[in-house]
Subunit: 453 residues, 2 copies
């Protein structure tokens, strides 16, 4: 029995019916051409037969004197953790997303290990899906994406059949950050540990406000994205061509990340105009970013960017340029700082938001309007046994006052967007997918015109 670390305790305490604190992912697979009719049924049976459960998948919560501990689950119930569902005919992706939205809106059972896996058959065009959820107290979004990568194989073959709960635990199952919420973790830890360092860095940040490209907390406008949330979710997911995004980035002298922000900005702008709710001031996005070189894949040099989404600018090229400038500000600043300085500054900036979150009160000034989190993913095709993975989409957390979360992961030549939202606060949120696609078309056209002229 081991005590639940203080930060994970926060995620447990933050959980309410309208604010489930689990992350997840949706993976789409192709049923192999030669598969029998009961292929998915057999696959579920085979998965359930893998009953050597590795930590942390075998641990459940136990409270002693009000203090939570992780303890072995002696009543482990495989049929509870691994479910077999199906879509109604003809199994449209729309129906898959509706089902997964419903599942992501339901709270995990605190009496059991805090994870569930759903194998969903009957997706149109001979596909099936796996939806997995993990409590954030067990695993953060990045770890979840890693786990969903680790059980897959680069070779197709029935002998490469592995399931997440049988993987040996990694030494760093919990990287020090994840989409948005991790800021709370480092903020909480470091604000407590390093008050002096944090305070001096806060002064640095304060001075920076004289820079016109500076975007920081407390600049975000009031927006319908920042309403109280209900307990029901809408998940929307789609992949967009990474090579197309690369070409656009090149044309504008921007990074892939800049273009991603520009796509999100254009889509949000249109959605908010649809609802007659576009704030006069630009939306602010909060981005957890890796500070490593592109080749590095491990470690925890992580920064936090408050990006100006420039949703007040109608022209797509100008909008992208404004976004790029606000991101570049942070890159320049981070370049001059040590890891320790950066982490301390992140702590100083995010601690107030974290404390607000904990106290359950809406901050008087909105720190940011939306979290956009981009996790690098595998470049090569992956297989679950002999089933090729066609796509994987991250599913994050919606919080009171943060009704939308945009998470991305790359896979092969696709950038896979997973949008999770409160379906009551943000009606017809799935329109954002269409708008993202059209924003990419528009940037391509704009780049083409610029090249022609």
């Amino acid at each position: 029995m081991s005590i639940v670390d203080p930060v994970s305790q926060i995620f447990l305490r933050l959980e309410r019916r309208n604010q489930p604190m689990h992350v997840g992912g949706l993976q789409l697979f192709r049923v192999p051409g030669n598969a029998p009719a009961d292929y998915v049924h057999r696959l579920v049976d085979r998965a359930r037969a893998q009953n050597t459960i590795q930590p942390p998948f075998d641990k459940r919560l136990k409270y002693r004197l009000g203090q939570p501990f992780w303890t072995d689950d002696h009543g482990f119930d495989m049929e509870y953790h691994v479910r077999h569902l199906a879509l109604p005919e003809p199994g449209a992706i729309r129906d898959l997303l509706a089902l997964v939205s419903m599942l992501h809106g339901a709270l995990l059972d605190r009496a059991r290990p805090l994870w569930e896996v759903y194998v969903i058959e009957g997706v149109t065009d001979h596909r099936f899906a796996i939806y997995t959820k993990f409590h954030h107290a067990m695993m953060d979004g990045v770890s979840a994406m890693r786990v969903l990568r680790r059980f897959l194989s680069i070779d197709a073959g029935a002998e490469n059949f592995r399931v997440p709960w049988q993987l040996p635990p990694q030494s760093t199952t919990r990287p020090p950050w994840s989409a948005g919420l991790a800021m709370l973790r480092s903020g909480y830890r470091q604000a407590a540990a390093l008050p002096a360092a944090a305070r001096s860095l806060y002064d640095v940040w304060h001075d920076a406000r004289h820079d016109p490209d500076f975007t920081g907390p407390a600049q975000a406008p009031a927006c319908m994205l920042n309403r109280p949330v209900s307990g029901s979710r809408r998940f929307a997911a789609q992949g967009y061509s990474l090579s197309r995004i690369h070409r656009v980035a090149e044309a504008f002298g921007a990074t892939v990340n800049d273009v991603v922000l520009a796509l999100c900005s254009a889509a949000l702008r249109r959605y908010l105009i649809d609802h007659d709710a576009l704030p006069r001031d630009p939306l602010i996005a909060m981005l957890p970013v890796s500070l490593h070189d592109d080749d590095e894949t491990t470690g925890n040099r992580v920064g936090l960017i408050y990006a100006n989404l420039a949703t007040d600018i109608a022209d797509p090229a100008e909008r992208l340029a404004a976004i790029k400038r606000s991101v570049d500000y942070w890159k320049r600043r981070y370049k001059r700082m040590s890891s320790e300085q950066i982490m301390a500054m992140v702590a100083a900036m995010s601690a107030p938001a974290g404390l607000n979150l904990l106290a359950g009160i809406a901050p008087r000034r909105q720190s940011f309007n939306v979290v956009i989190s981009n996790v690098p993913g595998p470049n090569e095709a992956l297989y679950f046994g002999d089933a090729e993975m066609l796509g994987m989409y991250p599913m994050s957390i919606v919080l009171d006052g943060q009704a939308l979360n945009i998470s991305l992961v790359s896979y092969r030549d696709m950038l896979e967007f997973g949008l999770i939202a409160c379906r009551r606060a943000l009606p017809s949120m799935q329109n954002l997918l269409k708008y993202l696609g059209e924003a990419l078309d528009e940037l391509e056209r704009t780049a083409g015109r610029a090249a022609d002229s």
Copy 2:
């Protein structure tokens, strides 16, 4: 906007992740022989098109100064309330029950009207199912069963297509009791209103303890049925021939209700022996019973019986006789009392249990081990549009310390059992269905031997 009545507030306040406070029902239908392949799809579309929402289906909760009110839902979202799901091939009843167990374990969204309907296609042998859930604050178990009866028709025909949320509200949508929990309602109300009357009747009850056939609260043994519960559920449902039960009742000079209790007793006895957990003292069941003549169907003359299930007796005939004596005690007593005296006595008996429940503490002495609730249902075949209903099964509430609830409803010649339990506290609870069937066989054999001799 109207205030939520105090008793419904209790149901809202009792709700926790491991103790969802909704009731429900599962209905099984036959797809008509001439139906197109997308029959269920069309049916869902047609149901969703019925968008005139009658009270209470259009009301959601709203809190003002901590006080809950019912208010119109201006963001009504039909696709959220009416879901379309499917079973994996071949759609065994076992898979249907697993799916419905999962759905019954999930909390309703408090931001919306507190009901959900799931149309589930792909049940084997050309069947489909409808699972409906209502929060107990909106509707109790008996009202839920009534609603699930009212939208059906005694004639098959597509023109008889009605859905629960378009029915005009009934004058008495809330009868004053329901399976088990209603005792809390009348107890709370009347204990407050009539302390003197309740106290004097408590004395009557106290005297009654000298009667050897008397079974009352605080006689129940400690039992695995009375453990803390998790948030996960197991639903098991099956119908048994009402004529067979009638014949057994006749053979033993007992009522149908006595035989039902004997079947439950035999099944629980075997289950507890399987788990090496049969208490030395007999289990006590709590039964809400109507005090009306058989012909009456309305009104609120309701009694409360603590039945001795005689699980300590191995012989089935002797066990049935002991159960009958303990039930007869209450019938004799109720016959000599006015409605008011009965209601006040019920209040006096159930108030302590209710207060324990509210305070969230386990009572020092167990009042009863299990609730068994029997609601009379329709005798004639019923149809949803042109689909014949093959069975309907009630789904009640599991509480901390009450890990099993047995609810019954009659339909045509069947007595339909719906067993809902915490699947962690009561592993393999579904074995009770087999044991119920075998208990009926055994009583028939015993009756036959008695007739031969």
